[in-house]
């Protein structure tokens, strides 16, 4: 077993585009759940409409790339409104059920034959079908980095991955700054009070529904952005990339890093992907499992890890244990 290779694979995933766009998705989820107390079990749905919104606009309708991005984000915002208006006045469980369902409904819709002419169905929207169907083209054209391999030791990025990770991590940094600023403000205070006790917030004159809606949209936009990042990274918008496990990876990342902290999701994403990708590599090297089962093993590992995390260190890497223990 080549330890350096395992570490290298782990770090490549953790510091690369995958770590970055999962950090974005987890930051969005953190706004929903960590700060506002909204149970969103369908973050993958926001990622899906963001990724497909952009991909379809550019590949099918041949709109400029940035317009595609805006459409993807707008779609995520609209989804937030559609899900939020009926459920946010009800108990938290209703949002949870609705969002899980939304993710699956959208995935199945996208997969279906009537939709295939727009979404590529089960084959997705691969970028290599024909020139005018590539949604990654413009983005790649903007890449200032000369072709070649970058990195040191066993960590390797090609020019495209490097460009992707630079842009995405910059977005992560920008988002972190914005969340930090917003959550420190009086608006952030109202949001946190809603998490603690909605009725108390209402009794003090706060329009709870509007704040929850704003939070849902904001976190959804980040999910949409993450979905766009994912489609660009994989050069592919495919329903198989948007299974429910994506939401649960995002939840694990959020808890691992420390919910309701600004940099928690970032630390969590890096740690998560380092461990998961590293473990993938280790298993492959050791040749212990029959081929084709790595995916299942990865899921089992994440599930077990999440359980151990909740039991032994629910505050994650950066969370505050005292604060956590005050939660009912």
């Amino acid at each position: 077993m080549d330890v350096m290779q395992i570490i290298g694979t782990g770090l490549t995933a953790a510091l690369g585009p995958v770590g970055a766009f999962y950090a974005l998705a987890a930051m969005g989820l953190n706004i929903h759940y960590g700060y506002t107390g909204l149970l969103n079990f369908g973050q993958v749905a926001f990622m899906m409409v963001g990724g497909y919104g952009m991909a379809i606009s550019v590949a099918i309708f041949e709109l400029p790339f940035l317009v595609g991005v805006l459409i993807g984000l707008a779609a995520a915002a609209v989804l937030a409104l559609i899900l939020g208006i009926p459920t946010l006045r009800l108990r938290a469980d209703y949002l949870a059920i609705t969002t899980i369902a939304a993710g699956e409904i959208l995935r199945l819709l996208i997969n279906s034959s009537p939709a295939t002419q727009f979404t590529g169905g089960p084959f997705g929207l691969p970028s290599q079908v024909s020139d005018n169907r590539r949604f990654t083209t413009t983005f790649l054209e903007w890449n200032p980095i000369p072709a070649g391999d970058y990195g040191f030791s066993t960590i390797k990025f090609n020019a495209t991955s490097l460009w992707l990770l630079v842009v995405l991590w910059l977005l992560v940094a920008l988002t972190a700054w914005a969340i930090h600023a917003i959550m420190r403000s009086p608006w952030g205070r109202v949001i946190k009070s809603i998490r603690e006790d909605e009725d108390a917030a209402r009794s003090l004159g706060k329009n709870v529904f509007v704040y929850k809606m704003q939070s849902l949209v904001m976190g959804g936009l980040l999910g949409g952005l993450a979905g766009i990042g994912m489609s660009l990274t994989l050069s592919n918008a495919n329903p198989v990339n948007f299974l429910p496990q994506v939401t649960f990876f995002a939840f694990t990342i959020m808890i691992l890093g420390g919910a309701a902290t600004v940099t928690g999701p970032v630390a969590g994403s890096i740690a998560f992907w380092f461990l998961v990708a590293g473990l993938d590599q280790a298993i492959r090297d050791a040749g212990m499992l029959p081929s084709g089962t790595e995916g299942a093993f990865r899921l089992a590992f994440v599930g077990l890890g999440l359980m151990l995390l909740i039991v032994f260190r629910p505050q994650g890497i950066l969370g505050n244990k005292q604060e956590l223990m005050l939660n009912g």
């Binding site: 244990k321 005292q322 223990m325 005050l326």
Partner: protein, 244 residues
């Protein structure tokens, strides 16, 4: 010859708290002798409920020992304590609202269910209302009636020690007085009681000895009567409104 009396229950130099690094109790001591009624009073945040919970293993005791009949029971699980004859009535959420009164009482003697019939009759002698409305859903009862169910349930195991956490909380003056009279009656049957109370005056009137806690430590100790008339205690804890 000096006789040293062994307490039935003793909390010796207890330091305890809920959150890591934060101690509510700081070296607190309480003794309960057989058949006694001991009251715990004091200002908010003094640690009264925490001390009671320390006696029942519901809060992390970091220093000090809790002993029952000489045997250490510090941090022992609650169900083990019930088997040893200690009963606990929490202040809130102390009944099962979806169960009937009878079922609530059954839950109280779950560990020893053969004795249900006999104990049920005994408890209903003490609280006739429970017998009359035995098949009524407990969730539909008023606050005072719920208190009765909660206490009745704790009594089903015929405990030798009963721990009560603010039994009068949220009750009207008439019901508070009834509750205290009932507690005194229970004590008269030989059950030793430790009671935390906010209604300091009534508490001190019916207890044999009282402990005044302040900021996690023992402030004053004495008989109920002594504390009731102690000028310092009156000034600090009873308030002059409570006179006469």
């Amino acid at each position: 010859m000096t006789i040293i009396h062994e307490p039935l229950l003793i909390a010796d130099g207890i330091t305890a708290g809920y959150l890591p690094g934060v101690n509510i109790l700081d070296g607190c001591t309480l003794e309960l002798y057989p058949g006694e009624f001991v009251g715990i009073i004091g200002p908010n945040g003094a640690g009264k409920s925490t001390l009671l919970k320390a006696l029942f293993g519901l809060v992390n005791v970091r220093e000090g020992v809790v002993r029952l009949r000489g045997e250490s029971i510090t941090n022992l699980a609650a169900h083990a304590l019930v088997e040893k004859g200690v009963g606990f009535v929490p202040q809130t959420e102390n009944i099962f609202p979806s169960l009937t009164i009878r079922e609530n009482l059954e839950m109280g003697i779950y560990l020893d269910s053969d004795k249900f019939g006999e104990r049920f009759d005994e408890v209903c002698d003490l609280f006739p209302l429970l017998g009359q409305r035995a098949s009524q859903r407990a969730g539909g009862l008023s606050g005072g009636e719920r208190q009765m169910v909660a206490m009745g349930r704790a009594l089903m195991m015929k405990p030798s020690v009963l721990l009560l956490d603010e039994p009068s909380a949220g009750l009207s003056p008439a019901l508070q007085d009834e509750t205290f009279i009932r507690c005194r009656e229970i004590n008269a049957t030989g059950v030793s009681i430790v009671m935390v109370e906010q209604n300091a005056r009534r508490c001190l009137q019916i207890c044999h000895r009282g402990y005044v806690l302040d900021q996690g430590r023992n402030a004053y100790t004495g008989t109920g009567l002594e504390l009731l008339h102690d000028p310092k205690v009156i000034e600090l804890y009873l308030g002059t409104l409570a006179q006469g």
